[in-house]
Symmetry: C2
Amino acid sequence: MPDPHLEALLSCLRFPSVSTDPDHRADVRACASWLVGQLSDGGFQATLHETPGHPVIIAKGPFQPGRPRVVIYGHYDVQPADPIELWTKTPDPFSPVIIDEVIYARGATDNKGQLMAHLRGALALLAAERDLPVNLTFLFEGEEEVGSPSLAPFLHQHRDELACDVIAVSDTGMVAPGLGTLTYGLRGIAAIELTVHGPAQDLHSGVWGGTVRNPASALSHLLASLHQPDGSIAVEGFYEGVTPLASWEREAWAKLPGGDADTLALTGSSELFGEPGYSALERRWARPTAEINGLTSGFQGKGSKTIIPAKASAKLTFRLVPGQDPDHIQQLVINHFQRYLPSGLSLELHAGHTGSPYQLDPHGPFGKAAQLALADTFSQPPALIREGGSIPIVQSFREILGVDTLLLGLALPDCNIHAPDENFPVANFNAGIQLHANLLRRIAQV
Amino acid sequence: MPDPHLEALLSCLRFPSVSTDPDHRADVRACASWLVGQLSDGGFQATLHETPGHPVIIAKGPFQPGRPRVVIYGHYDVQPADPIELWTKTPDPFSPVIIDEVIYARGATDNKGQLMAHLRGALALLAAERDLPVNLTFLFEGEEEVGSPSLAPFLHQHRDELACDVIAVSDTGMVAPGLGTLTYGLRGIAAIELTVHGPAQDLHSGVWGGTVRNPASALSHLLASLHQPDGSIAVEGFYEGVTPLASWEREAWAKLPGGDADTLALTGSSELFGEPGYSALERRWARPTAEINGLTSGFQGKGSKTIIPAKASAKLTFRLVPGQDPDHIQQLVINHFQRYLPSGLSLELHAGHTGSPYQLDPHGPFGKAAQLALADTFSQPPALIREGGSIPIVQSFREILGVDTLLLGLALPDCNIHAPDENFPVANFNAGIQLHANLLRRIAQV
């Protein structure tokens, strides 16, 4: 007999809701409309709200005065699926397949699998008991993968409707299968795109080679200047104000699975590299980074084309930790590139999306409720960790709605989020449905 | 009344004979067949010869024993037209337009305009006089822009048929409009493509950032290591054996147009940059270079994708001068990259096409005949120069056929070869038709 929860998730995964690509705008919207339908049919008051970008959904369950007010956030947009040719389990990342009880599709983990676990958990509770233990509101957006540009204004506009005591989000990881995990810190992000412009047009490298600076060479120099040889970041002022790791964190994390050896295995790398003096987990969760996400210049087709390209560009993102301000870091990086740009070239810089780093007290009342719900679900005490990814809107929830966010992630380290063969175990989906019920129950007891 | 010479050239330019792109294979062949038709209709014995790549054409005019045997070489293949969006004069680089007596199209100068000037010049002579002053053979190939891989074996196989006293080629430049130019030296070339491989697949830069080397960063380091800060090349042994410039060359070139100021204007650059101690002409014609032709890594679409790319690659070409051996230089560069590759990554290196540098005595009998033909055509003594581009097959002509090559180019510095808005003045096309007649006459007098 087909599992209706699983069937619903597979339907959701079939929408190619790639928020960064204008060609998928209608697909993103179709996914939002489908979610509104699911929620309405299940007894929620669900509304699709327009924004300058992709729609936001607010859906409210039964209301009773005096109960804790809980908002559960998720995002229905996904990363691009390319390079599609590297997907090995399904030829189409938007045609999900289940192999050995694991679901393969773009968005399987990030974030549709986790969003749908909460949605299906709530519908199941409501169908069985005709009520929920808290006043529950779902908040689903379609722009998380592009930095949630519309969400902060939306939160301002809908402050009253979204007023709550706590927010819960499942968009982070578990340190190991079956080990419930509360994430109490996230890195922030600052994106920069730079283009080095040289000659007015592509030049024949035989005729002109040797007389003017090659923009691709200059870009290489600029990018090579970002790091010290030891792996630390060479941008002046980059580490100023960074909050050091606490001793208890270093001690607890040293005992966790998913450390140096797992990092090698899961990334398919032969060697670790990074800021000296820190373990892989410490580098991933609590130290800032500078990474090149893409390079583009000149001829990229088959064969050769003997040119000096007119321009060369790179996409960069910096992961930030408590004590760093994304706007300030963007300015430091811009200063760095302007200072190191060789003469005779011009530099075009675009400051992209930003998100502040986040930290929460895991021992407050809602943090404790979350720990209990995780223990209920997974039958062992949860791990307390930080995480390297960025959920910029968590910071917005604190600033605009004035509440903390519980991060109860269900992603495993090998779920390949943002990469080919993204996947989500059916077991995690089912655990998520249970976690939803346990979380509402434990919060109702606060 | 339409000019039949010009109409024929425009027809030739309409073939998108891009030799590097497998998708254009049929177009390259169609262009070759069309040329065979032109030559046959005009009284030549023309044959299309198969090769492992694109066809080679041999066409022979009337034969009389005892006359000098002249081979005129040209290539009917062209560079890719991209970036097509930067062409401003014609929306389709293979739909030629004539604006203010200048022809705009991919291949207008390199090399169809110059090839067709010789072809039409020969057909006109033959139509008018029913004979030619020399035993003329045309040799046209379709792989010059990919390094002529089939031509050397072809020359070996057809040595008897191509036996001759001298070869003439119009595939080089004029230093100024109306100033006939004999090029007595060419730079050689060595191509290398390198790919740095890191993690097994693209990684989420939030989850994993800071723990493994980013291949795009490592590639930037490798490419930045190619040059010293002063613009000279840092590859060990690169300059060993390089033949220094002769004093007479430096003196003569200092008086030529097309120097530093023109280099700035024609490249659209704000500043010159290159090996210290040399003028722009000296750097272009007689000093070796290392240029990046293309960079590719990670996400290149609109928006952002927060990954550590699994790999990063670059296409490079080195221009070489007398005293440098292309195979040896490729090995030195490979050694350089292997030495500087950071640990934890792997390096994939492809040694691409090569061509030896070339030098000829401009004061020998055929060199003098060429100077006279240029003086006849342009009514002033020609300039004697070297050129920065590479025509690797000129070296093959010397090695396999045992003869020198006269380089009588008709390209102006602003003809934009290999670039958007490639163009060829109608006046240069017509001068080329005259030059053909003068050259055959002067060689007949040797």
